[in-house]
Every structure is written in structure tokens, then in C-alpha cells.
Amino acid sequence: EKMPIDLHISASDRKKIDAIDWLVFDRSQRCEALKQSNAVVRMFLAGRKLSAAKEVLLKIPSDSIDVVYTEWGHKADSSVPLPPDKDNTIKEHLCLQAYLETQQAFSDWFKHYHNKPSASNPAEPTSMYNSVSISELVAEELRQKKFDDDVIMWKDRLEQFCDSVAKKIYNVLLFPQGWLADNAEQLEDKDESREQQLATLREQCIPSLCDLLITVLTSTENHNSECAKLADVIASEDHKLYKLFSDSEGRKLLNRIQDAMIDTL
């Protein structure tokens, strides 16, 4: 298993990230700021620049959605719902956030996975008669006990990280009304290039998230059988995720699930 590709941030990327500071300055422009930051994040994700995407989202104040609603409330009667473009902007922001959380959860799991306690070497006989002294035996026993405890703790923690990855990935896969799918159809000012980008990101990110989840489930003990649940989610007509896979991606997926399930027989 390996970390997803994360290309480094170039000077021109840096300019785009820093520009967000200016956009969030004026509260009345917060929706526009979200719209612009969404566009920048989309571009970074398409270019496999996860850290850059994360930096952009970190620049968005956490109360931004409230601000958009409040600002809208100043303009319109509270009974008037947000116009479709604003509604879609907020949803997209939440989708992108949910996606970056999966990457963080995976990276936490990954680091921990590769930080397994290593077995200490058994004590070398030091006495001249080639035998181990009592104190050395006791020390060795303690070392062994500590090692066993460390392994148990490591496994528990790995399990927690695994559950967190699964939860975060399912948040994306089962995002209400579909991840990066607009809630309302925007009839005026249709932005076709944006729609195209969303579709491309869905096809790029969803299959790779499924792949990531299988990696985590099969590398964490006793989680192989959960791959069957993933198959249910992908095959479900509710979100029709299977339509986002190419034949070769889908076959790879089936093969990996099949591999995982052999171990559960």
C-alpha cells in the first residue's frame, strides 16, 4: 500500500492559495469567496495536489456557511430559500471538505500502520558460562511483556484509525444526493466547465477512495469481511456509484474484493 500522490505546491499555486485571504475579508462577499475557493480546490484535486487543496480550505473561516445564510437573510425574506447557485456552492464546499477529511484519516492510519512496534532482540548471554543471569532473565521477561503490550496498543489504535477512515470514506460515498453532485439544477448562468470538472472529479476520486478503503480494510486485522459492505454500497441504485468506474477500474475492484473475501472463508 502506498500514500496517494500529493504533488508539491508551485509558486503560482501559492499565489492562488494566498489570494483566498483577500476573498474572505468582506463578509458580504463570503459566498463568492466560497465559489472561488471551490474552483481552486477542484483544480488542485484534479492536479493531485492534496496539500494545496487542504491549505485553501483551511483559509475559509469555519462560520462561512452561517455567514452566507445571514448575508442572504439581510437581502431577502427569511422564507425565501437560498438561490440554487448559492445552495450548490455551499454543498460543494462541504463535499470538498469531506473528501479532504478522508485523506487526513488515511494518512493518520498509514503513519500508524508503518509504526508497528518492532520485536526487541532476546538478551545475549553475557556471563562467561554462556548462561543468562536471573536479572537478565527478568529484564528479558519485562521487555517481552512490554513488547506484547505495545503490540496490543498498536492494534487497538490501528483499529480506531481504520474505523475512522471507513467512516470518513462512507461520508463521501454516501453524501446526501451524491458527492459533488449539485442539489438544484441551475438554469440561469449554467457553468458547463464547472459541471464537467465535477463529473471528472467524481470519476477520479470515488474509485480511488474505494480502492483506499479496501487497502485499509485488508491491512487491518479482521476487517476483510467489511469489503462485502463496500460492494453493496457501490452496487446500490441509490447513489449508482458503479457507474463512475471504468471497466478496468471495476475489474480491479472486484479482484481486490475477491482477494479479501478468500481470507474470510
Binding site: 462485502a228 452496487a235 458503479y242 468506474f245 471497466d247 471495476g250 472486484l254 475477491q258 472463508l265
Partner: protein, 244 residues
């Protein structure tokens, strides 16, 4: 090897996936799903994997769509089971993760049965929706079996259960039942199935309905009989008018 695998379908589909025989894997998985009775979740996964095997098989769209549609129908039946009210599952001492596979007739009984104490018109509508999944009665041999899979028999059964959800004492025969009885499950069910264009397929024969054993107490109540006849007749007329 092939004959060994035929005897072990749980291994066979895996072998077929590995060899790139996706349509064979689909068929094996569908077979496994049809044999599965112990676990609803396992059956669902066999169907899901079978669906994915077809989707990525590289076959023509016509073949893929046909098989996907078949799996979707089977998934739908499992969904009726998955969405059983929790009180019903608790009474059966089971839960969505560990429950076995219930037959369509059992599902109907669970939706409209006594254990579903808070059952409402939606549960009864679901029971009607499960009827098409009952095994074809041509295949049944004994008379008892054929009765228990006869769609008309089940329709009457469900209507009876809906009627018995409410007490029908003190009916004002002069009033319009669609107003005075609008709180009853029966009338809510009539309204719901009418508005979803389902009623036309499930409307019972009132004579047969009144002949049902479960309604023997109510049958002798002339105002109830009048109410039932008048209501179904009115519904029938509405159907005809809307069809015309």
C-alpha cells in the same frame, strides 16, 4: 477443477473473477444468492457482487441492463426486509446485521401482523408491494401451498388486517365515510394507494372480503357492511372516472 468448483460455488465465483469470466461469476453469485437463507446481509452481498460482475463484464449494454434490472428487483425485496420496523425485529430477537432471509409471505405477515404494533398505511402499502414477489403458484403442489401463494388471497388478507386496525363501532351510516373515517388505517390506505395509482391493482372483491373469517364479527354489523360496500363502490367509481 471445474467439477470441483461446481460443487463449491463459494470458491467458484472467485476463480471466475480471477480468470476474467465475469458473466460466469455473475451466474454463480446469483445462484449463491438464491440458495442463501441464513443471512440477509450475505444474500445482499452476493447480489451486489453479481451485479458488479455484470456491470464490468464488457458485454453489450442490452445484456448488462437486463441482468442489472433482475438484480435490482431482488435487491428491492431485501430492502423491504431491511426497512422492517425495529419493533418487529426485536420481537423476532434479531437485528438488521444478523437476520436470516425472510420469504415474501413472511414479510407480508410481519408488516401487517400484530407484532407491528404501530403499523400505518405505509406498512400496508408495502405489504401490497411485496405480493408480486410471491412464488408463482403454478409451481405449488398441495392445495394449502397454492392458497398461501395466491395473490388474491393475500390481497384479501392484507385488507382484512387493515380493517381490523380500527374499531368500527358507532358508525354513522348517514355520513360520508371519507370524512368521518379519514382517521382509520383503511381509509388512509385507500387514499394513499389511490394517489399512487396502485389501488386499481389491489382493489378487492367486496363479497369475498366480507366472507373472510377474520371479519366474522364485523360482518353482522349492518352499518359496517354498508360502510364497506359504499366506500369501495365509491373508490371504484373514482377509478373508472379517472381512467376515462
Amino acid at each position: 477443477l471445474t467439477s470441483f468448483l461446481t460443487a463449491h460455488p463459494k470458491l467458484a465465483w472467485m476463480h471466475q473473477v480471477r480468470r476474467g469470466k465475469y458473466l460466469d461469476a455473475h451466474n454463480t453469485l446469483r445462484h449463491l444468492a438464491s440458495m442463501e437463507t441464513e443471512s440477509c446481509a450475505t444474500k445482499k452481498s452476493y447480489l451486489s457482487l453479481g451485479k458488479l460482475a455484470t456491470v464490468f463484464s464488457g458485454q453489450s449494454d442490452a445484456i448488462i441492463n437486463e441482468k442489472v434490472e433482475e438484480v435490482n428487483q431482488e435487491h428491492l425485496l431485501l430492502q423491504y426486509q431491511e426497512t422492517l420496523p425495529s419493533v418487529v425485529l426485536e420481537n423476532l430477537n434479531t437485528d438488521p446485521d444478523t437476520m436470516s432471509v425472510f420469504s415474501p409471505s413472511k414479510l407480508i405477515q410481519l408488516y401487517v401482523g400484530e407484532d407491528n404494533i404501530f403499523s400505518n398505511e405505509v406498512d400496508f402499502k408495502k405489504a401490497f408491494e411485496i405480493i408480486p414477489y410471491l412464488p408463482n403458484n403454478d409451481a405449488m403442489e398441495t392445495e394449502e401451498d397454492s392458497k398461501s401463494n395466491d395473490a388474491d388471497w393475500w390481497k384479501l388478507f392484507i385488507w382484512c388486517r387493515a380493517i381490523l386496525k380500527d374499531s368500527w363501532k358507532d358508525i354513522d351510516a348517514a355520513s360520508n365515510p371519507f370524512e368521518t373515517c379519514s382517521h382509520t388505517v383503511l381509509f388512509k390506505l385507500l387514499k394513499l394507494t389511490y394517489s399512487t395509482n396502485m389501488l386499481v391493482d389491489i382493489l378487492p372483491d367486496v363479497e369475498n372480503l366480507l366472507r373472510r373469517e377474520e371479519l366474522s364479527d364485523l360482518r353482522h354489523d349492518s352499518s359496517f357492511e354498508y360502510l364497506l360496500r359504499a366506500s369501495f363502490e365509491q373508490v371504484l367509481r373514482m377509478q373508472i372516472t379517472s381512467a376515462a
